[in-house]
């Protein structure tokens, strides 16, 4: 029971980080990042190869680069950094000149291509078989199978989720977040008001990439395996469903969506009675995710917790007080 509960909670923490990141990119800024899972995967692979020993150390049953065996928390930090660094070339290529609909297509194609490349370039990250036996943080000092360790991991994931939430709140509630929301509404008008949309998009894309990388790093050192089959492009759609269901543009909504969809919805469908040929029920899970997105876009497009426009109290104008108290979504 402890294992099951801690497993769910760590997944919740990872999904909350991922949904907050996607909310900043898609919900707040309007960047339809269909390759989001690639940035999470980049963080996961980075944390894996930086915590694993050299590939020659385990009899050569898996091949990968680096194998630096770095101590915790360096693999997590590096995972976040690589997620951000990867965002720079991707953003420069995709976000500078393409229209938003073409950006979405390019992101989707990128997600498929990167997965295929990693699957087939075996010496790089062990190809389709993926990486296994990824060391858990501080596992040389603590028993990673003990309840205390598992709860400790939950705590570490929660701290990361909290930090990401606080950063996301600062962004959304600031004038910078207000400009991002304006860019989402009418990019050309924002440009005509002296704002550089490329800078706006690149900065929030990199911030989202850092958070995505961190979420991958936190996840991979808990589950200790990582392979291309775990980060196929439909995984991004689950996160989109979460943001849409929770309420795009609203950090609380993204948090709620992460709990409701990737965690709650997937856990609930796990207990469906098995029927029909093998694979039918998992396929129905995907159908249900699709129906969930369409249903919310049709009947409740603003999600469970809609974004609320910032209302600035009159009292705050000249005499001080908490300015922009309600600026941005909550």
């Amino acid at each position: 029971m402890t294992y099951y509960l801690t497993n769910i909670l760590v997944y919740a923490g990872v999904d909350i980080i991922a949904c907050l990141a996607l909310n900043l990119q898609f919900g707040v800024s309007g960047i339809v990042n269909f390759s989001f899972i690639v940035f999470q995967a980049a963080g996961a692979y980075t944390a894996a190869v930086l915590s694993l020993p050299p590939d020659s150390a385990n009899g050569g049953f898996q091949n990968y680069v680096l194998g630096a065996q770095l101590p915790f928390p360096l693999p997590w930090i590096a995972g976040a950094v690589v997620g951000g660094l990867l965002s720079i070339p991707v953003g420069l290529v995709v976000l500078r000149r393409l229209r938003p609909d073409y950006q979405a297509i390019a992101m989707l194609v990128l997600s498929v291509i990167v997965n295929l490349v990693i699957t087939n370039a075996r010496p790089f990250l062990n190809g389709a078989a993926g990486l296994s036996l990824i060391p858990q943080p501080l596992s040389d000092q603590f028993n990673p199978y003990s309840a205390g360790y598992l709860w400790g991991y939950v705590g570490a994931a929660a701290v990361c989720a909290l930090l990401v939430f606080l950063v996301a709140q600062r962004i959304v509630k600031s004038p910078y977040g207000r400009t991002l929301r304006a860019m989402r509404e009418h990019e050309l008008a924002v440009t005509a008001l002296g704002k550089n949309p490329v800078v706006l998009k690149m900065t929030i894309f990199i911030v989202g990439g850092v958070m995505a990388g961190l979420s991958g790093a936190v996840l991979v050192q808990f589950i200790t395996i990582w392979a291309p089959s775990t980060w196929l492009y439909p995984e991004t759609l689950i996160l989109f469903a979460a943001v849409i269901v929770g309420g795009r543009g609203n950090n609380i909504g993204a948090l709620l969506g992460a709990v409701l969809v990737p965690v709650g919805f997937e856990e609930a469908t796990r207990y469906l009675p098995q029927f029909g040929p093998p694979g039918l029920v998992p396929a129905f899970e995907w159908v249900a995710i699709g129906m969930l997105i369409i249903g919310f876009l049709w009947f409740r497009p603003k999600g469970v917790v809609p974004e609320r426009p910032g209302r600035i109290p009159a009292a705050s104008a000249p005499g001080g007080g908490r300015l922009a108290e309600d600026s941005g979504a909550r």
């Binding site: 950063v167 600062r170 962004i171 509630k173 600031s174 004038p175 910078y176 977040g177 207000r178 400009t179 929301r181 304006a182 509404e185 009418h186 050309l188 008008a189 924002v190 440009t191 005509a192 008001l193 002296g194 704002k195 550089n196 949309p197 900065t203 929030i204 911030v207 543009g249 974004e307 426009p309 910032g310 209302r311 600035i312 705050s316 104008a317 000249p318 001080g320 908490r322 300015l323 922009a324 600026s327």
Partner: protein, 274 residues
Amino acid sequence: MPASTAGVADGGATSAPSTGTAAPPMMSVRDVHRHFEGMHAVDGVSVDVLPGHITGLIGPNGAGKSTLLAVLAGTLPASEGTIIFDGADITRWPAYRRARHGLVRTFQLPSEFAQLTVLENLLVAAPQHRGESLRGALLGRRYWAADERREVARARELLARFSMTAKESDDAGSLSGGQKRLIEIMRALMLRPRLLLLDEPMSGVHPSIISEIASYLETLRDEGLTILIVEHELHMVERLCNPVVVMAQGRVIGQGSMSELRRQREIVEAYLVG
């Protein structure tokens, strides 16, 4: 070779407005072209925009007025030609840089930020706000609170001036067409522009609001703001604009006051009647 020039630019077919001032133009447009895969939307336009005036830009649908406005604002790059604004060659400048330099445009279709409040719409335009960068956002409210206080006060002054105070907390998307136009104008004014480019600000606006918008524009002109306006409401053009530039098929076919233009047969035939 310019396909057409007008008024002050080449001393051509029509006379410049009798302003009695020798002030240099706020903007000089020289032989500007804009091609779309062989289609010449703007075909060698040369005009001057005089400071402190409302210059009208009129012409039939498809004349290239809005395209010219977009080229001047940098929303579309010019295919050829030169644009000098306030002494600087801005031809290759991106739109955001032109706006920061004081050249601000509005759009033909409403461009409000629908899910932001009216006040937020204005605050987005605030220039040089410390909270507008990622760094500023991460440093927190204390870092940018003073700027926010200043800009909120400015925005509320504008709202009061345009009689929109009661609407400041409404979602901009919920407003009427005329109110959305006012938001666009106020938003542009938040940038403290030196030249305001207005693309059909009376379009889709209730007739009772049109006169109100015209009064605001007259006040802004009297305060020294230079305005270039594309407009189809000819009685408003007559009331507000001098000079008026007439375009047809991507070219300038005349320039002067409305009464002068009415005396030119080719312009009357091309546009002013039927």
